[in-house]
């Protein structure tokens, strides 16, 4: 599998949430080294779109293609290349930061303790490594879930509001994280309403209305 062929494409996606037609004939494509920033007001269907792209939601019509093949949450090959950061952090509040990463990432790949420390250090919460997530702030929790992105060698990143609850430094962190990913030839789809990655030629905006 060559990274050069990595590209995400959608063809005329239509999706309803209840009786609302949130995604109407949506077609776009993102090539390797590119980021698609999905913007739009709350409730416009950003999360729905990202879930469709992950294969977690089947659209009423149309399809999303990864490397030319329709995506599906059932497809282990697709999952292996995908990192999804939902608006929920997928953290257990009774576990420590370190344990959360160990158990969540460990299901996917073998993981050495030193890698966990490295990732926690990178997101700036290595001091909280052995604290239960219960006592961490919302921003620290978001940073912890961002740490997964270091530990999963994914080509396609689908990030739902990655900078929620983050301070200015956290915003810079997310930006550098995504830039590094694009540098490596990765693909990213990011839903955001902050001024994230505003002046970057590799970032294309997709405005949902």
């Amino acid at each position: 599998m060559t990274v050069a062929a990595a590209a995400l494409e959608t063809r005329a996606i239509n999706a309803w949430r209840g009786d609302r037609h949130v995604l109407e004939d949506l077609s776009f494509s993102v090539a390797a080294g590119e980021c698609c920033k999905v913007t739009g007001p709350n409730g416009v269907g950003k999360t729905t779109l990202l879930r469709v792209l992950c294969g977690l939601l089947v659209p009423e019509s149309g399809e999303a293609l990864w490397r030319g093949r329709p995506v599906s949450g059932l497809d282990a090959d697709y999952s292996a290349e995908l990192a999804y950061l939902g608006h929920a952090n997928a953290l257990k509040t009774d576990l420590t930061a370190r344990e959360n990463l160990k158990y969540l990432v460990g299901v996917r790949r073998t993981l050495a303790a030193i890698e966990i420390d490295g990732a926690l250090d990178r997101v700036g919460i290595v001091d909280c490594a052995d604290l239960p997530v219960r006592v961490m702030s919302a921003g620290q929790r978001r940073r912890l879930s961002l740490a997964r992105l270091w530990l999963w060698p994914a080509v396609l990143w689908i990030l739902d509001e990655p900078a929620t609850n983050l301070d200015a430094a956290g915003l810079t962190l997310v930006e550098s994280l995504i830039r590094d990913h694009l540098e490596r030839g990765g693909v990213a789809v990011v839903a955001a309403h902050q001024r994230l990655l505003d002046n970057d030629a590799r970032v294309r905006r997709l405005e949902l209305e």
Partner: protein
């Protein structure tokens, strides 16, 4: 460094995670056991302390209490994982969801079903059941609660996105659990009458194998529907 985790490794990790969580939330995890003990203790108080009478209903009481308390525990088996987004990550982990859910149900049974099985000789003694029927009670409850864990797991996976899912879960699962109750109580009754309990126990074992072989597939299909909702 980044080789994919093997299936067995992933399942072991899920079990360890569940046990760690249970250890930190022991007050929550022991609730079904307390419920079981309270219900079985209330029976003699409400009916009669006469051992001869208690003995005739003892097997049924033990089984009904175990069934309800298992069901009580099963309602929330997947809830927190679905609400906090862990389940989505499992679906997308590239590991077969059925096996991950199976590991979770095994851990859940170890925490809630196994304690019921282990205390049941004491409960049986309190209800005046002679020591000769304890092995049958323990065997039948072990098979029954383990089968119920899978049946309840399917129901819980289906109803996890539903508010007030617990009533719906009971309506879904109790009819399926009726054979367990019937044969479980029957095995205790036969053993009490001095007959061999092999027949009902074998039927329980058959249901156990059916549930554990096909149940995980049904659980993962049900979970996909819930997560995709």
């Amino acid at each position: 460094m980044s080789e994919p985790a093997g299936l067995i490794g992933a399942m072991r990790l899920v079990v360890r995670r569940e046990l760690t969580l249970a250890w930190r939330r022991w007050d929550e995890v022991t609730q079904p056991l307390i419920f079981y003990l309270v219900v079985t203790t209330l029976f003699p108080l409400a009916t009669t302390p006469e051992l001869a009478v208690l003995r005739t209903v003892g097997g049924g009481v033990v089984w009904v209490a175990a069934l309800l308390s298992s069901l009580l525990a099963l309602e929330s088996v997947f809830r927190s994982d679905v609400e906090d987004g862990t389940m989505e990550q499992w679906v997308l982990s590239g590991q077969p969801l059925a096996w991950l859910l199976l590991a979770k149900v095994v851990a859940h049974w170890v925490m809630t079903g196994l304690p019921l099985v282990l205390v049941s000789p004491a409960v049986a003694a309190a209800l005046g059941l002679p020591g000769s029927v304890w092995p049958v009670i323990v065997t039948s409850l072990a098979l029954g609660t383990a089968t119920l864990s899978v049946l309840g797991g399917i129901g819980a996976a289906l109803t996890v996105g539903v508010r007030r899912g617990s009533v719906l879960l009971s309506l879904l699962v109790l009819p399926l659990a009726m054979p367990l109750l019937v044969f479980g109580a029957r095995s205790v009754e036969q053993s009490l009458a001095g007959q061999s309990a092999a027949g009902p126990l074998q039927l329980l074992a058959a249901m156990f194998f059916l549930a554990w072989s096909l149940g995980p597939l049904a659980m993962s299909a049900a979970m996909r529907i819930s997560v995709e909702g």
